[in-house]
């Protein structure tokens, strides 16, 4: 395993984790832009733009892009989050040049008006699709409540109103500002010819103009303090189950507490074998009960997700909070710590074997921190987490403290 990095004169970072004997090559553009970089008038523009990137350039139609990816046998796709927009393709090594060239050209899309109008219809269908699915918007509503006043409050997809109102010119301007070379990382993993990667990047991206993007983090005073508990609800009379999302404060992406926070979430709320699992899921009282830690550049949170019979949702939420309070009071055991460490280590090793999984770890880490972490580094971090540090996290980030909670479902028998 070898790591390489080169920065082009215009600021574009080219990085690669090269694995000898790998059977495939994964490449991706990691654009440092997402929902948090939008204004109310641009709500949903990052994700909409991600779709438009596949609709073609001035000399390449959208159909031609789709045909080329299929012709090279690529598993190609893209996703948008609060902080990142990522375009990726996994190919056989002999297709590296084709894949990188195509992705590179796509980063300068035509953003044609007629494509924009057709794709708007697709985005609106995507919004409706998620709105019809569990947790029926409870996740977005909880994020909005928890992060009120902070850029991370905005949902990635936008709303039917914001997308309908979005003009194509605003998207063109957003693209010019955010898709600048000094705001983008080109990453590759697996069987990578690094010299060829840099050469392709130079040829296709060398003339992109840097923009010196504005800082993305906000002053600490605008951070959510979770000082006021919030409970909201969304009514879906036809739903079979009630869905609850609960968010409380957690460490951000630069805080040393973030690794023990993730380990703590495994102990308390992993999908199997955790305290919530044995208390609520194994007994068949809940369909799902989990705890996860999410971190961003300047904020973080713990998210509890619960689905169960509507008549039980309040009592089960109370039991979950009691479980958190008990952990804070009694601590966790060395056996729980050991089991969670082994679980995480197993996940790191298995994910590390596939270049298409590694691409996201390597690319996002560089986009967020400008650093590289190998699989061995990740394993060392997991191994180094101490019981004391996990107890410190329980103390500093009270899981049973103030939180935003949103319920969605039939509400039968609840006071929501």
């Amino acid at each position: 395993m070898q790591f390489r990095h080169e920065r082009l004169p215009n600021g574009l970072d080219v990085i690669a984790e090269i694995t000898d004997g790998a059977l495939s090559t994964s490449v991706g553009f990691f654009v440092k832009t997402g929902a948090r970089d939008e204004t109310d008038a641009l709500w949903g523009a990052s994700h909409f733009l991600e779709h438009m990137v596949f609709k073609g350039t001035h000399d390449l139609s959208g159909d031609e892009i789709n045909r080329r990816f299929d012709w090279m046998g690529a598993a190609a796709n893209a996703f948008t989050s609060e902080e990142d927009t990522v375009y990726h393709a996994a190919v056989l090594p002999e297709q590296q040049h084709e894949a990188v060239s195509l992705l590179t050209r796509m980063m300068r899309p035509a953003l044609r008006d007629e494509d924009f109008q057709t794709e708007k219809l697709v985005i609106l269908e995507e919004i409706r699709m998620y709105d019809d699915q569990p947790p029926f918007g409870a996740d977005d509503r909880c994020r909005a409540a928890f992060f009120a006043g902070h850029p991370l409050a905005r949902s990635v997809l936008g709303t039917v109103d914001s997308i309908t109102a979005l003009p194509v010119d605003a998207m063109r301007d957003y693209h010019r500002r955010r898709y600048a070379p000094d705001n983008i990382v080109l990453a590759a993993t697996g069987a990578v010819d690094f010299a060829a990667l840099v050469e392709t990047a130079r040829r296709h991206c060398g003339d992109w103009e840097p923009q010196a993007a504005a800082p993305r983090t906000v002053p600490a005073t605008a951070h959510p303090d979770g000082g006021r508990p919030i409970v909201e609800s969304i009514t879906r009379p036809g739903a079979a189950l009630e869905y609850a999302v609960r968010m409380s404060a957690g460490p951000d992406g630069s805080d040393d507490d973030r690794y023990p926070a993730k380990l703590l979430a495994v102990i308390l709320g992993d999908e199997s074998g955790s305290r919530l699992y044995w208390s609520l899921v194994d007994s068949g009282e809940a369909e799902h009960a989990s705890l996860h830690h999410h971190d961003y550049l300047d904020a973080g949170f713990f998210a509890t997700q619960l689905s169960c019979d509507a008549t039980d949702v309040e009592s089960l939420l109370a039991r979950i909070v009691a479980c958190y309070a008990d952990a804070a009071r009694q601590g966790i055991t060395a056996a729980e710590l050991g089991q969670a460490r082994n679980k995480l280590a197993g996940r790191v090793v298995l994910a590390g074997e596939r270049p298409r999984r590694r691409l996201f770890g390597v690319g996002l880490e560089w986009a967020h921190t400008g650093r590289y972490r190998s699989v061995a580094d990740d394993l060392a971090i997991v191994e180094s987490i101490s019981l004391d540090h996990v107890h410190h996290v329980l103390d500093r980030w009270p899981l049973d403290g103030p939180a935003a909670t949103v319920l969605a479902g039939p509400h039968t028998g609840t006071s929501a």
Partner: protein, 415 residues
């Protein structure tokens, strides 16, 4: 590409399959027992699923909790699933953990406790999962489609029917496990960093003396009606279509797979291009090939706003009808390229390969080499696919719509 494939059949009928994947540190193992939902029996839909859940809740010397803690404490990513044909127990792990894992899985298969004190929790868990699937409209549409397309019991929902799960008792579960969790028909597949002789020795010591009675049979029932509307109060209407295709073991299954990939298998496929890219009618639309051992299906799916659902269905049906006589060699080239890179990249995942070799043995009674699979794709030509399409016109289209209003279903698919 050089491949190291192994297989051996034990005296009691258990098939052991292995693939060495150099370069990986992990190993994945899957135990597929022939205790699938096809054996549920009338009025007992969900029995296989509930039995599979009960098998995990205590086996040999370990309690339910000790099983999970032993697996997870060793860093094993475990899973359990019941399909139409099999109850499967699987795990992926760092290779050195395998000797620790094998006895746990052997106990789950051979010595499940099936105790009364776990029954209500297990039942509630199955019922919770069923309620969860009620809230997943795409899942509901596809489940309804299987019931229309396949003859009973192959089309029945393996996750169960809640009113029937409510009635199942411990006697039924114990009887089901005794009759169907059996060595003959069980496939144990392993892939990754493996030591084949060591594995065969260890697993033979654990399951080599396992014996069971005669093989059960399945009585085929009737198929459902051709069309069904499922009333569902939501913004989108979901459309699911199926028609007959040859099962995987048929010589022409690759022609069917390729024709369906051209119709709806990639982002340059016809459905994606015509329904989504050209008209903006929906977010998701696709077509593909699904196979059981003796039955298979061509399947199409889309979900879109109620007001645009009829047009979406009409365009989908028109594209199905337009397929014969219009296949282009560039389209076939793209299907071959996607198949090739998919097969090669499968070699990077021990779990994917353990799944693939087991699936092939179940369908073919043999494991195909990658070279053989690639050659089968290479041999496809526009004329072999056109000949297959001409010989297999779409005559028995099953259609499910799930949403507020029923759709108008075409009488037939024609060019």
């Amino acid at each position: 590409m050089k491949q190291s494939l192994f297989s051996v059949t034990l005296d009691n009928g258990i098939v052991l399959l292995g693939e060495d994947l150099p370069g990986l540190e992990s190993v994945a193992i899957a135990f597929h027992t022939p205790a699938g939902a096809v054996h549920d029996g009338p009025g007992r839909c969900g029995l296989a699923t509930l039995s599979g859940e009960m098998m995990l809740r205590g086996a040999g010397d370990r309690s339910s909790r000790e099983i999970v803690e032993s697996l997870e404490g060793a860093g094993i990513q475990w899973s359990q699933a019941v399909s139409t044909s099999h109850a499967s127990f699987a795990g992926a792990m760092v290779a050195r953990q395998l000797p620790e894992a094998l006895p746990i899985y052997a106990d789950i298969l051979r010595r499940p406790r099936l105790e009364a004190d776990q029954l209500e929790s297990a039942r509630q868990m199955v019922l919770q999962n069923l309620a969860g699937t009620e809230d997943d409209p795409a899942h509901r549409a596809m489940s309804a489609l299987r019931q229309l397309h396949y003859p009973a019991p192959w089309g029945m929902p393996s996750e169960g029917i809640s009113t029937q799960v409510e009635e199942l008792d411990l006697t039924a579960i114990r009887g089901f496990v005794a009759a169907h969790v059996r060595p003959a028909g069980t496939i144990i597949a392993i892939a990754g960093r493996i030591d084949w002789p060591d594995f065969v020795r260890r697993i033979t010591a654990l399951v080599g003396d396992w014996q069971a009675g005669p093989a059960p049979t399945v009585q085929a029932g009737p198929r459902g009606p051709r069309f069904r509307h499922v009333s569902h109060d939501a913004q989108q209407t979901h459309i699911a279509l199926a028609w007959s295709a040859p099962p995987y073991r048929s010589d022409d299954s690759y022609e069917a797979t390729a024709a369906l990939a051209i119709l709806g298998g990639g982002s340059s496929a016809r459905l994606f291009t015509e329904v989504r890219e050209r008209r903006g009618l929906c977010y998701s639309v696709s077509a593909g090939y699904q196979t059981l051992r003796d039955h298979a299906a061509a399947v199409c799916y889309s979900g879109t706003s109620a007001a645009r659902a009829q047009e979406t269905l009409d365009v989908m049906v028109a594209e199905i009808g337009r397929l014969p006589g219009t296949i282009q060699s560039e389209e076939l080239d793209r299907v071959k390229a996607r198949a090739k890179s998919g097969l090669v990249m499968q070699q990077e995942s021990s779990a994917a390969r353990a799944g693939a070799i087991a699936r092939q043995w179940y369908h073919l009674g043999a494991v195909r080499t990658l070279a053989d699979e690639l050659a089968r794709y290479d041999r496809l030509t526009v004329s072999t696919i056109e000949a297959w399409l001409a010989a297999h016109p779409v005559r028995d289209l099953s259609v499910v719509s799930l949403g507020r209003e029923p759709l108008e279903v075409p009488d037939a698919v024609s060019a």
